[in-house]
């Protein structure tokens, strides 16, 4: 089959998003069903693409409109992108199902549209091979995220959305400045081409441009202290959207950071930037974990924990070693699964019991045993207990960290992990060993999803070999820029 069909990954959600108003008249169920259908379709396509990429071992390059890069815009679906597009699609599919139960505020058609656009944006961010296109997709993601954050129409939602807009706006402006500088210096926007030219750019421009780009992306990728919007947005957004934020929106930002960082490997001052990123990432972990320590609201607590984990991924990506990047990618996958599970189940508890305050979790083990069990599995996994998936990626990251010479940073991250363990185990204790109310019937579909994710956590934890092979390839894809350049059929302009 022709690899160009991979462009459906972008086209499908975009086109289907515009069809939503048409079926609006058929009612809420129809819209939600439509959403589920589209995401299922997307999952199928993503699965096919991933299969294609991993079986041939070659990336799929989609070239828009027949213009070859660097003049034309291309999509680059390598090992990493294939894997993540699949994750995005799968998580979106699950969340579409969850939305049936979790989203009751009208207008649902707008929700469905934005949902699809969010998915589209993230997919595009990961798949694109053009830096400005990246900006566009980032903005699509961001705008739909702003809107979805405010979707619940409460004061808090609007407030969170506003914070997100202000910070995201500033960030994207500076990102654009960075793009402008880079473009000014190289005259190209294609990433592969940029990578080729990276060594030849004027050092100051490269440094400033790269720094601004990373700055802009760091807002999306929740690096401290640029992540102030995140806990609020996580808390205020509808539960499925929180899952998506944590599972792939952030990851898209992180991916972009990682990708651009390694594209500019040749630029001067690169290692200094890495060190700065490591410091920021370490701070992110510490501050986030400490902030989560005494949270009264489980969702916010897990949001902080998610930020902490993201900091760890950023740490791994910023190490500048193959081991670090692979570990980071592994952690991205694991974190996507675990946080999807946690936000899903916690969100479900919020839906079922009318709030996510910690008090609602008292005696959850007796009230909603399945949900409580899956939350427990998610918690244990996040803490990094052996036989759960995060353990493997965590030790990979930390080993890579020490290997790269950042022992102090690893020590601090480990210290933060202790804090993380404390609040998660408090939650576990609250759920199982504190008396609560009566038994509540659990939703079947959500239970199935939760069990699927939990099983995935344990399966990867007990048998990580296959996933590790996959993420190693993905990490290679991200780290090995020469390969990246080689795979993109550049026209040879300005080279």
């Amino acid at each position: 089959m022709n690899g160009q069909y991979a462009s459906l990954l972008i086209a499908l959600p975009l086109i289907s998003a515009f069809f939503v108003p048409l079926i609006k008249e058929l009612g809420r169920k129809a819209v939600m069903g439509y959403l589920v259908m589209i995401t299922a379709l997307q999952t199928a396509i993503a699965g096919w693409v991933a299969n294609e990429v991993y079986s041939t071992g070659k990336p799929i390059i989609v070239i828009a409109g027949g213009w070859k890069p660097p003049v034309g815009i291309n999509l680059y679906i390598g090992h990493f992108a294939a894997l993540f597009v699949l994750i995005i699609a799968v998580i979106s599919f699950f969340m579409a199902i969850f939305s049936f139960r979790a989203v009751n505020v009208e207008p649902v058609d707008k929700y469905a549209m934005l949902f699809l656009l969010l998915m589209l944006g993230a997919t595009g961010m990961i798949a694109t091979g053009d830096i400005f296109n990246l900006f566009v997709f980032m903005e699509i993601t961001a705008i739909s995220a702003y809107a979805l954050t405010a979707y619940n129409k409460t004061g808090e939602a609007a407030e969170a959305s506003m914070k997100y807009i202000v910070l995201g706006g500033i960030g994207s402006s500076f990102f654009l400045i960075g793009v402008a500088l880079i473009y000014g210096a190289t005259g190209t926007l294609n990433m592969a081409h940029l990578a080729q030219l990276a060594g030849a750019i004027d050092p100051t421009v490269a440094q400033v441009g790269l720094a601004l780009i990373i700055f802009g992306l760091a807002v999306e990728a929740e690096l401290f202290p640029l992540n102030a919007w995140a806990p609020d947005a996580y808390q205020a957004a509808p539960h499925p959207i929180t899952v998506m934020f944590s599972a792939f929106v952030v990851k898209a930002g992180l991916y972009a950071i990682g990708r651009l960082l390694y594209l500019f490997q040749g630029a001067e001052g690169w290692s200094g930037l890495l060190r700065l990123l490591v410091i920021l990432a370490t701070l992110t972990v510490i501050v986030a974990e400490l902030s989560a320590l005494r949270q009264k609201d489980a969702k916010r607590m897990i949001a902080y924990s998610s930020i902490g984990q993201v900091g760890m991924i950023a740490f791994a990506l910023a190490l500048g070693t193959q081991a670090g990047v692979s570990a980071g990618v592994f952690h991205m996958v694991n974190h996507a699964i675990v946080k999807a599970l946690l936000f899903l189940t916690v969100g479900y508890v919020g839906v079922a019991l009318g709030g996510t305050a910690i008090e609602n979790f008292q005696g959850l083990g007796k009230r909603m045993p399945l949900t409580a069990l899956t939350i427990t599995i998610g918690s244990l996994a996040t803490v990094g207990i052996p036989l759960f998936n995060i353990f493997w990626s965590k030790i990979r990251i930390l080993l890579a960290g020490v290997e790269a010479g950042y022992s102090w940073s690893v020590a601090l991250i480990l210290g933060a992990s202790v804090v993380e363990a404390v609040y998660y185990f408090r939650l576990v204790h609250t759920m199982w060993f504190v008396e609560g109310g009566g038994r509540i019937r659990e939703n079947f579909a959500i239970g199935v999803i939760a069990i699927f994710l939990a099983a995935l956590i344990i399966v990867i934890g007990v048998y990580p070999n296959d996933v590790w092979t996959i993420v190693q390839k993905a990490g290679q894809d991200l780290f090995n820029v020469a390969n990246y350049i080689k795979n993109v059929p550049l026209m040879g302009v300005g080279a």
Partner: protein, 609 residues
Amino acid sequence: MNELLIIIFAPLLGGVLAWALNVRGIRELLGVAGAAVPLAYLVKLYSELDASGQLSHSIDFAGFTFSFSLTHLTWVFAMIAGVVGLASTIAMVSTSRDGYEWLFALMSLTGAYGVFLSFDLLGFFIFWELMTVGSFMMVLKYSRSAGLKYFVLSVVGAFAMFLAIAKIYALSGSFAFPDVANAVYYAMGRGDLALVFGLFLVAFGVKAGMFPLHVWAPDAYSETNQSYTAMFSGVLSKTGVYGFILIYMLIGYRLMVEFGAFRSAPKFGYIIAFLGGLTIIVGGLLAALQEDIRKLFAYSSISQIGYILVAFGVGTSLSIEAGIYHAISHALFKGLFFLIVATIIYRTGKTTFADMGGLAEKMPFTFAMAFVAILSLAGIPPMAGFVSKWLIFEAVISQNLPILGGMVFFGSAIGFVYLIRFTYAVWFGQRPTDLDDTKDAPLPLAVAMAILAIPNIVFGIAPGLVVKELNKIFGGEIVTSPTLWELNLGFGRYNGLLILVWLIVGLLIAAVIYFLGAPVRKVPVTDTYQSGNPVTMEYNLTIRRNFFLPLKEALAFWLRISFDKLYRDIGAWVEDFAEVMRNYVYNGNVQSYAWYLALILLILAMWGV
């Protein structure tokens, strides 16, 4: 499947099945089977091991190579885990109520087996974590604060170990013990070496309950199923002990070369030994002042581990052998003690000394077991506890380490002190009337206790049995054992059988005199001399609280210094700091957040220019 993997994972499998099925009867059967299978395999592998010296197995997993190895050393430790684990699980048949406990108890047993059998650092770490989690879950069920204290300290220890492992890995690129030892010996710098040693010290010290990292132990040991505590204290703390041997195996030579020796012991060993000595004294004194039966033994366990650390710190092969011997006997008698405590709590439902008394008549079997355990712990010849203590004494003193010798001597006296307190308050004296219908131990507990009590006696009378195995670890006659009963160090000899025979002779002589006298008449506890006052059972005739009040008063100054409180303060401080920090950083004002962005921009600008 390889036997080593079966040994390691059988308990976990049993536990998971028991938890998943959760049918009364089958659950217990599966759990006990899970603990019995590894033991059976260990016994079976003994002859193979004897022939080949080492059984290894390695698997590639998750991009790492994990190797497992059964050597004489690990066999000994695995046997500790096997025997005590089996006894503990059998006892859990009586005391455990749900699948949850079976799952996590057996998970921690798997962890312990894994720690002992792993032949690479990563596997060691993973099983260590597994074991910590299993035991933590057991504690969490009973008490959140005790559990979290245990977990935080353990995790700090585990992470310290991880950091050290990562350091070593960065240096050697391998986790396997031989590679690591080589890399450390040839390539590690002085600073890194000291750091790694310190990190390992913290890591293993926490698990072993070394002063001043022992504070988790009293709470964690007491706030869980007491049958499980037998394993907790008997096996899990031994992983910390094993870790100290690992220090010697992996970085010992290099440490020795780098830092040298002061007098006859290596300099780094002094740190271990003196911390061990302090552990003996602090643990013992605190044990004597406890009012809760479980806490008394928790502190006692800490104190006894101190002996092992002292022995390891001295660092001769004799002293390390003595330490391992004490690890064995400690596992035996402390496991037995906790099973006794489990029985008492199971039958009476009480935990404090104030509520007990006079149980010896009601629970004769349990008392007999307690008697064995007391004699063994107190170091009364000819019990296993005496032999190991004796070896430690000889090993320490023969190296001309007077201060350590004094510490060890003090430890043995304090052992008497708290044991008598336990004996007096629980078994003797007046019995509270609500304990009048207390029954003796249920069958599973009785069997479990017997399993642990018999080796306590056998290993004391026939120390040659143990020493023969321990000599194999070092590949030489460290302690010569001409016959099964005798030990000869060259400067000291011990013969368990002779002691037994002559003790029996002495008892016979005494008995002859005794039986020549007029027959005895049994009188109740109220018929005792109270300065002529008549008493009834309503009086409290036993000193139930503050038994060692004078000791408490004499030590008042030192008792005010509490590491527990220090750690709690640090914890509270961190929490308060976190609270303040998050309220300042995430203050809700979008403008402040914008300022953060500006600040980062500024930093970027300064960094760029």
